[in-house]
């Protein structure tokens, strides 16, 4: 205990005697760790933003009817394939309705499932937007607004007007921003549409929808589910898609298989639907890791350098301490303790600077038409970066102190004195 106190005492005197040097060494650590935290927060913030753009609005599973030829043709049933070679030319798909058969029972069963966070019905119909002599073709989806907001943050993409207008007024429409621009319409105006069977409807623009993807915004609009069913001149059970959001996105693939097995529908999971997005996301994650490892290594070398200098300047003191009877171990502990102290101070300051820098970036304006919901640069305040930074700072300062201290432990004091 006394020994520890003595070592602490000597370390403290060393550190306090050269406050400026101690501070500079600590700042070296601070800079490395601070930069690491800022870079990681910013990069992963950006990644999460980009992932979120797709993941938040994409259903985990889309359920719909697909028009494909029957795989097992009746001819094969009649002339068995083992003894015959069947060549059927010009196979055509069987005509099927666009709607999901038995949609309402499927929907309510999906909603009851424990793995499902929510499921929303959609009715999609092809229409023409009319304006004078101009006809723009497009798609209108009928949605349940409240569920869409809850599950897919639908409200974030309504840039003008009120998303709830769909509930308040039956003939309200959330018009795609591309269409609104082309037809020079704004909130409050009326728009004429024609359905594929020729019926005209006059809808009131309750809001402008902007996804950020021009090809979507040029054709897509949203109305209430009931309105869409009316445009399709169909009943309340006419539902062409069901969007499912699961509690755990990892289950999307098996769950979609399950749906396909139970019901007579197609189920597309998010991994298949966004395969290329997944690849991009993986590569971005990989780059983040590469950058963070590089940052840590650079910071580590900086820390090592500074502490090495710090200890080599104290070589004289090491010789004196040893000559007057301090053991190699004592000397080693004295310098490791100083290194650790510098590491702690530097790490705490680094975390503070990292946090401050993150807040600063978080408040820088970043507005782009493509991302209507984003106002400032994204930052991910993940405590793991702070913990990792802290651990790294202490471990690297420990090593940076340990290696020269270990050398100092072994050296004969007279070798230091004679070397001067």
């Amino acid at each position: 205990m006394d020994k520890l106190r003595l070592i602490l005492d000597i370390s403290k005197t060393h550190l306090l005697a050269k406050k400026k040097q101690t501070l500079v060494a600590a700042l070296g650590v601070t800079f490395g760790i601070g930069m690491f935290i800022i870079m990681m927060s910013f990069m992963t913030g950006l990644n999460i933003l980009l992932d979120g753009l797709v993941l938040n609005r994409t259903p985990h599973i889309q359920v719909y009817n697909k028009t494909t030829p029957t795989e097992y043709q009746p001819a094969n049933k009649y002339f068995d394939e083992v003894s015959n070679i069947n060549q059927i030319y010009s196979i055509k798909p069987k005509s099927r309705l666009d709607r999901i058969h038995n949609a309402l029972p499927i929907l309510s069963e999906l909603k009851k499932n424990d793995d499902v966070l929510g499921a929303t019905p959609q009715t999609t119909c092809k229409v023409f937007y009319l304006s004078g002599s101009n006809n723009l073709n497009g798609v209108i989806s009928g949605i349940e607004v409240n569920e869409e907001i809850r599950l897919f943050n639908f409200n974030e993409y309504v840039v003008d007007g009120d998303v709830n207008s769909l509930i308040k007024k039956k003939n309200s429409i959330l018009l795609g921003s591309g269409i609104a621009k082309k037809l020079s319409l704004s909130v409050g105006d009326n728009i004429q549409i024609t359905s594929t069977n020729g019926t005209n409807f006059s809808l009131n623009i309750g809001g402008i929808y902007q996804s950020g993807l021009a090809e979507v915004d040029d054709i897509q609009s949203f109305v209430n589910l009931k309105m869409a069913q009316q445009i399709s001149s169909a009943g309340g059970n006419y539902i062409s898609r069901i969007h499912v959001k699961l509690k755990d996105i990892e289950k999307a693939v098996p769950f979609s298989k399950l749906i396909e097995n139970i019901y007579d529908v197609e189920a597309l999971d998010i991994n298949t639907a966004n395969a290329q997005f997944d690849t991009g996301s993986d590569i971005r994650t990989l780059i983040s890791y590469a950058v963070s490892i590089t940052l840590l290594i650079v910071a580590g070398f900086g820390i090592y350098n500074i502490l090495n200098m710090f200890i080599y300047e104290k070589m004289n003191d090491i010789a004196i301490l040893k000559a007057t009877g301090f053991t190699g171990k004592d000397v080693m502990y004295i310098f490791i303790l100083q290194a650790l102290f510098i590491g702690f101070i530097g790490a705490f300051l680094g975390m503070a600077i990292g946090y401050g820098g993150s807040v600063l970036i978080d408040n820088i304006k970043f507005e782009t038409e493509a991302l209507p919901t984003i106002k400032t640069y994204p930052i991910n305040y993940n405590p793991n970066f702070y913990i990792l930074g802290f651990i790294f700072a202490t471990v690297s300062t420990f090593l940076a102190g340990y290696l020269p201290a270990k050398k100092a432990q072994k050296i004969d004091p007279i070798d230091i004195i004679r070397g001067q």
């Binding site: 003595l6 003191d317 007057t324 009877g325 171990k329 072994k410």
Partner: protein, 226 residues
Amino acid sequence: MNSILEAKNIDKYFLTPTKFHVLKDISLQVQRKEFVSIMGKSGCGKSTLLYILSTMDTSYTGDLIIDGQSMNNQSKDDLSRIRNEKIGFIFQFHYLLPEFTVLKNVMLPALKLGKEDRKTIEKNALAKLDLLGIVDQANKKASKISGGQKQRVAIARALINNPKIIMADEPTGNLDSKNSEIVFNVLRSLSDEFDMSMLVVTHDHDFAAKTDRIIEMEDGYIVKDK
């Protein structure tokens, strides 16, 4: 049995820049209470010998026995402990820890030894400083006092654990005649009063003349011992 320090057939080579035989078959004994000085020209190996005798240099061949204990197979940590307890060393250039106060410099070896509590050690340290006439400088930083004072602080530090033998490497080499006189008188009285042996490397003929025994070295040999 009365010898506090005994060296037998000590050989030492410097390997860099070229192999050089510094100490050639050195054997000597220092008795209890004896005040011995080692003289010789620069480069004759007298400082090197002193460093070996003080256990601070371990690369040599031969036997070294301090206070009846062989130093040959001791670990470096054990040597540190022996230095701490039995040997007081005074360097030519004082070698104080500049960041610490005078008092702390003197106290540190005793704190390391840990035989007494902090209070007693502080009292002892002040007593040693008083003995050397610099107790008024006790709370100054070691870097803030004069050269002569520094050398006396170094002596006080060497004394703090009441060692069996004090070794000094030209303790008066950097001091004027007045300060040299003070240092010699202190060492002399310590030897007489506290039963300490002294082994002092010096260039100073006047200083050496006042000691009990002079060992003269030349080219790595002891040429005269009386």
